[in-house]
Each structure stands twice: as C-alpha cells, then as structure tokens.
C-alpha cells in the first residue's frame, strides 16, 4: 500500500514541510509584512469565493494565452526552419539567444513607448519570454535528428515533405514539447511581469493593490495562486503530451 502511493505520500509530505516552515516563519514573525500560511489560505479562500480571483485571471490569461499561442506557432515554425537550414540558423538564432538573455524589465519601457499600455505590449512581453526557448529547443531537436533515419527516408524514396513530416517532426516531438512546457512557464512569468510593470490588471492588480493597502495575506494568496495555476497548466500539457505520444515518450528517451 505504502509502496504504491509512495510518490503521492512524499509529495504531500514535501508540501507539508514547506507550508509548515511558512507557518512558523509567519508566526515568529520574520517581518510584519510576512503573513502566516493560515492567514494567506484564508485570504485565498475569500478571493476565490467572492469571484475576485476568477475575474482577475480572465484578465491575466488573455495576454498569456494569445502570447503563448503566437509563440508556439511562430516558434515551432522558426525552430523547424533553423534546424533545417544552417544559413537560417546563423541568421536567426542569435536574435533569440539575445532575447533569452536580455533583461526584460529594462525593455518594458521601450515596449510601452512603442505599443502603449494595452494588451499588445503585454502579449509582446509574454512572447519575448516564451518564444526563445520554444524556437531554440525546436531548432536543436530538428538539427539533431538521427542522420541515419534521414538517410533511411531518402533511400526509401521519401521526398522532403515526407522526411520532415514522418521522420524529423516525430523524432523531435518530445524535445519540442519540452520546449513548449518551458515556454509556457516563461510565458506565465511574462504575463505577471507585464501586469506589475505596465498596467496593474488581473492578478497583478490584486498583488499591487493588496500591497498598497498592506493586505499582505491577500498579496501572498495571489502569488500562491499564480504558482498553483502554473503547475496545473504544466500538468495539463504533460497529459496532452502523454496522450499524443501514447506512452511512447519513455521509450524514446530509453532509446
């Protein structure tokens, strides 16, 4: 019984350690601005029940979903091209490497000047966060397709389209999906960052507002909700991936 549920038990135990430490630290307290776990949970419940959180997330998810979708489509497309063409790789990859390392917070004022304080700027921030990892992962996976599999496709008379669709993309699939997962996590950071740095809307508004009125439990509840949502989102993505590869992902890794 224990062996079967060991993973679950250990996960719950791990959460208990973190929440317990939080509760203790809040009770000492380490800072008057640091609420206990129980206070934060109560605030979380209030925000959830009165609908504030739902409304906030509808607002927050707009730039996130739009940005992640754009990043996924353009990112996988560009990554495929980068992986297939050396010249295109040299031309395009540096842009994304720079994008990945650029301090985004410093770029936000420029984006605001160019695109205003509306949705466009926020989508941009999400894209800047999410796209590089998707592009670079896809590019790397495509470039590293086993040379002998490609030769196999050529020798059995596959044309370029067959080889891309039937060999390169399926073989790159697990790593493309890993890039997508990382892209979504980065997109989450981007969406929250844009709400804190551009205009406080959605869950960023809850954070900013609760901080300004010193309602720290609500502020921590909002932050915790972001983490919970991000983890749920990644879980859903993993389920989709497992469904699409029908459990063959592990086999691919083992090979």
């Amino acid at each position: 019984m224990f062996a079967r549920n060991r993973a679950l038990i250990l996960k719950v135990f791990s959460a208990m350690i973190v929440f317990g430490a939080w509760e203790v630290a809040g009770r000492i307290p380490v800072s008057f601005a640091f609420p206990t776990f129980l206070e934060s949970s109560a605030a979380f419940w209030t925000l959830l029940v009165d609908g504030t959180m739902l409304k906030a997330y509808i607002e927050t998810l707009k730039p996130l979903v739009i940005g992640v979708l754009i990043s996924a489509f353009i990112g996988i497309g560009l990554g495929l091209w980068i992986g297939l063409s050396r010249a295109f790789d040299w031309l395009i990859s540096p842009i994304f490497v720079v994008m990945q390392t650029a301090p985004l917070a410093a770029l936000i004022p420029l984006l605001v000047m160019a695109y205003g304080i509306g949705l466009t700027s926020k989508v941009f921030v999400v894209c800047i966060m999410a796209m590089p990892v998707i592009v670079l992962n896809t590019g790397g996976a495509v470039r590293n397709t086993s040379a002998s599999l490609i030769e196999m496709g050529e020798s059995f008379l596959g044309d370029r389209k067959d080889i891309i669709l039937k060999i390169i993309l399926p073989s790159a699939f697990p790593i493309i999906f890993a890039g997508l997962r990382l892209g979504v996590s980065a997109g989450f950071i981007g969406a929250i960052l844009s709400e804190l740095k551009i205009t406080p809307t959605g869950v960023g508004d809850i954070i900013t507002y609760s901080r300004s009125i010193a309602d720290y439990p609500s502020m921590y509840a909002a932050i915790a909700s972001i983490i919970i949502l991000a983890v749920m989102f990644l879980n859903v993505l993993e389920r989709i991936e497992n469904y699409l590869s029908q459990g063959r992902r592990k086999a691919l890794v083992a090979d």
Binding site: S148, E151, S155, F156, K166, P170, S171, A251, L252
Partner: protein
C-alpha cells in the same frame, strides 16, 4: 555458373573526395546479378562510402554507377538499404517500420501492411508486429530492418555492416539465413563487412579494398564450397585457405 555473368551493378572509375581528403580514387567494380558480393577491408577504406554512392545517398566526385545499365542519379526503387544501426523509427511499431518503405511509395495502408506482414513472418518476427523497436533485441531489430528492405522488392539489396551491432551467436544465425535469402530471393546483394570470416562465409565474390585512397586490391571468387551444406563451410579447406590469404594481404594495412 554457366554462360556470361550479367552485372546488376557496375561501378566505373568512381572517385570521391571530401575537400582535400580522397576517400575513393578511380574505383571500378562489377556486381554479378543474383549473387552476393562483399566489400571487405580495414576501417577507413571507403567501403561504406562506396555503398552510399551506389545507393545514391552520396554523389560521386567523378565516375559513374550503373544499376541494370541505368546511371545512378539518386536513390531509386531498384535498391534497398539495410543500415548498420538499423535506422528504425522508435515511435513506430514493427509493422509500420517494415511497411515504411511502401508507405513512402504511396502504397495503400491495407496493401502495404499485408506485404509487410508476409516479410515479418519470413524474417521470423511473427507476433511482434505491434511491438516497438526498444522492446526488441539488437538481432530482432536488424530483422525488422531486413524485412523493410525486402518488402519494397528492390533488385539490389545494399547492406552496410548489417550484423556488426548484434552479438556473435545471432550473427552466425544471420549469416546462415542470409545464404538462404541469396538462394531463394532473386536479388543481388552488396554486403559491407570488416570481418574476413564473415565475408568468405557468405560471399560469391569478395572485393578487397585498400585504404587511402581506396582502391580494389583483389577480387576473390570462392568456388568449391558454395553449394555445400552451410554447416560444413567453416571446415572446408578452400574456406580456410581464402581466409588465410586475405589476412596475409591485409595484415600490413592494419595499424
């Protein structure tokens, strides 16, 4: 062997350079129809390069290759390749892997699966149709590669060290099966190996290649033991003589 031997494959003055490195120089060689010819030589002698030029996977720098009198310009339906590393798609079942050559040729699903099924049985993998490559042993994987090459029904089978990645016992079984295949299938086999014993055991004709730049040193045609029982070949005096002779001439090229 009566009458004129017709050649299924003719290599005429083929050279291949990679930049300054000369891999093949003015190599000419004939491959008689319906027989198995080995390309034997120390590593780095360009055997695989020659095989890939014949397959149309690599362009020759100069010279020509003819398949049944037609010059090679790229991969063709008249040739099928068996890869050293098997080149199986890890995400596809045995059935799909075997049928993949036909799939790329646009054969309908039911038809190609029926053909694949027949060859899966022929190579002794009945019952493994829906297994994935990672669930099979090395020897079984190469049987999948062999079934895939057989199922496209090409005149010429190009085998690039097909048994080098399987264990010794499996390898011996493969060699015996290969002799049966040469007898029963009316195909021409080109077989790259670095094992002297293997080459002498399976070949109607052995071309010994020397390295840097690669050239044909000698063509040997064992005659006495080919019609004997497969189990007595390794005790045949001619077999032992030829193995010794080849070793004596190759010895000086081995570092």
């Amino acid at each position: 062997m009566t009458g004129r031997i017709e050649n299924a494959v003719t290599v005429h003055n083929v050279s291949k350079s990679y930049g300054d490195v000369e891999a093949l120089r003015d190599l000419s060689l004939d491959f008689p129809r319906g027989q198995l010819t080995s390309l034997l030589g120390p590593s780095g002698c360009g055997k695989t390069t020659l095989l890939k030029i014949i397959a149309g996977l690599l362009p020759a720098s100069s010279g020509e290759v003819f398949i049944n009198g037609t010059p090679v310009t790229g991969p063709g339906a008249d040739r099928a390749f068996v890869f050293q590393d098997f080149a199986l798609m890890p995400w596809a079942t045995v059935l799909r892997n075997v049928a993949f050559g036909l799939e790329l040729r646009g054969v309908s699903r039911s038809e190609r699966e029926a053909i694949a099924e027949k060859y899966i049985i022929e190579v002794g993998l009945k019952g493994f149709e829906h297994s994935f490559p990672h669930e099979l042993s090395g020897g079984m994987r190469q049987r999948v590669g062999l079934a895939r090459a057989l199922s496209v029904d090409a005149d010429v089978l190009l085998m690039d060290e097909p048994f080098s990645a399987v264990d010794e016992q499996t390898r011996r079984k493969f060699q015996e099966d290969l002799l049966g295949l040469v007898q029963n299938e009316n195909k021409t086999f080109l077989f790259v190996t670095h094992s002297i014993e293997e080459a002498v055991y399976v070949s109607d004709q052995i071309a010994i290649l020397l390295p840097r730049p690669s050239r044909v040193m000698e063509v040997i045609r064992p005659s006495g033991f080919r019609d004997r029982d497969v189990n007595s070949i390794r005790r045949d005096p001619e077999y032992l003589d030829i193995v010794d002779r080849i070793w004596a001439s190759l010895k000086s090229y081995v570092e």
